[in-house]
Symmetry: C2
Subunit: 306 residues, 2 copies
């Protein structure tokens, strides 16, 4: 099976208390695709400029990510630059140059259209909707969004997420989107907007899954060295969706097994988020092996058992 | 078996977004003792003034808490008043009248001295030390502290915790005490100060246990209605210590079983913290039954299984 991923492919300039890097491969699409690629085949829809380096394309290609949907447009690749606080719980954006991403119109190559699992990275809600419209074999649609769209295009966002099966957002966004402060109440309010499954990413505190009436909580892996949190939420989404595709459960015919795989998907999401944070940019995701992922899964089980 | 508890017995005035109460029974000693009383026998060492109402004493007595160590001094009972923010993640203290608590010198009645499990609520470190000095059958000593003592009496605090088996503190205090921001690093630094077991309470995000090289994480129970967080950390400590006494494992002869009971104790601590938050003051703890506690334990297991 395959997962269709849409999201930004960017260059990032990142400064954290652990160091500084300039123009490294980044963007939600890259992090999602690389994380998911450890579990399944990934088809990426994104846009880059003519400055996009062959070496960076090679990073994606080496993970067998299908790049037929990676459009090249005249101009520069999306560039983001930010600096993290001492605790890395806050970050300040210094530069956001959308460049070719400003006019991005996601187009699915013919070969992508029948992909049943679709993961919509955080882009404009109306563009997320056009991706789903182009798909011909819609199985399970999950998406991310952010405060920018919640504040500026609330109606467009509401229309878009109405058809999603799952939404993956952080706790601040969940509060903003729902208008509720309590975790359970905000998840219930978001479920009422459409998605049956609401995954709330809580950073260093883990994640929560609300699926119908079911609730599942998982703490974050306690990292020994947090180097760079950039893209951790996207790596989470990639691990989550990659696992769901890999486990291959038919959710309509096996709802209980699906529910338990959703929980596992949240654990794999957490694990991919933890690997992401251990190195700058996508370095924590690109050279991983399934053996290391499974070892951390077991380590995780040992951390949580009682 | 029994647990010896030392800590404040106070009157609290509390305002949260869910309501307001005045002069309700509170204090670390009350919350700890009531939480622990659901698991084992509790012997309380504390001081109250001559305004302490028989009805409030009755609340403790009805839970079979031994009050031989509850000293009555001329003057008023410790009074605290505070108001919580909308999210209840922050609170502002309006009044702290130490009253009779200012001159508190914990004295163990003869019948308390052989209690093997000792839980030291958050009082001045040198007073915590005198409690341990008076004990004749010291088995397992756990204690709490706070930023006030970390800042003002660091040397006295260091001398006191050196002999503790476990310390239970919140994440902010753990960072302050250790000088480390990372959870694991701060736990390791605190272990190096003495306690083999470090329990870090993370409020709405749960708790972490570091025992030797072992690490255990548990999320908080997702409450449907958070009414008043006052005393939740103390209720946690009471549940933790109460369970350890109830399970009755000899930690030197059965270190592995002890380790797994420590994990369970953290879960029971979380559960008692969640009950505490659901009502004002000690109301969430006083009328509980072991059946409801066990039901929540099972509910908790279902929330965490994958």
């Amino acid at each position: 099976m395959s997962v269709l991923v849409v999201g930004s492919v960017a260059y990032d300039g990142i400064e954290t208390p652990r160091g500084k890097v300039d123009r490294v491969l980044g963007g939600a699409g890259s992090h999602i695709a690389l994380a998911a690629s450890h579990f399944t085949n990934v088809r990426l829809v994104a846009v880059v400029g003519d400055d996009f380096a062959p070496a960076d394309e090679e990073v994606l290609r080496r993970r067998n990510i299908d790049l037929e949907g990676l459009e090249r447009a005249p101009g520069k690749t999306f560039f983001w630059q930010g600096v993290y606080s001492e605790s890395m719980n806050e970050r300040r954006t210094l530069v956001t140059d959308l460049n070719v991403f400003a006019d991005f119109q996601p187009r699915l190559p013919e070969s992508y259209r029948d992909t049943p699992l679709i993961l919509l990275g955080n882009i404009q809600p109306s563009l997320q909707a056009t991706v789903v419209d182009q798909a011909t074999n819609r199985g399970f649609v999950a998406g991310d969004t952010m405060n920018y769209w919640i504040e500026r295009t609330p109606d467009e966002l509401a229309r878009t997420i109405r058809s999603w099966d799952a939404i993956l957002i952080n706790d601040e966004e969940a509060r903003q989107l729902s208008g509720e402060t309590d975790l359970r109440a905000s998840a219930a309010a978001i479920q009422a907007m459409g998605p049956t499954s609401v995954v709330i990413k809580r950073g260093e505190y883990g994640a929560a899954l609300f699926h119908g009436d079911d609730c599942f909580l998982v703490p974050a892996h306690p990292l020994t060295t947090l180097v760079d949190p950039t893209g951790a939420g996207d790596a989470f989404a990639g691990g989550f969706m990659g696992w769901l595709d890999r486990c291959g459960i038919d959710r309509s015919s096996h709802p209980e097994q699906w529910q338990s795989q959703l929980r596992r998907a949240v654990v794999y999401g957490s694990i991919m988020g933890s690997f992401c944070c251990e190195q700058f940019g996508v370095d924590g995701l690109r050279n991983l092996t399934l053996e290391r992922i499974d070892a951390r899964y077991e380590e995780f089980q040992a951390l949580l058992a009682y």
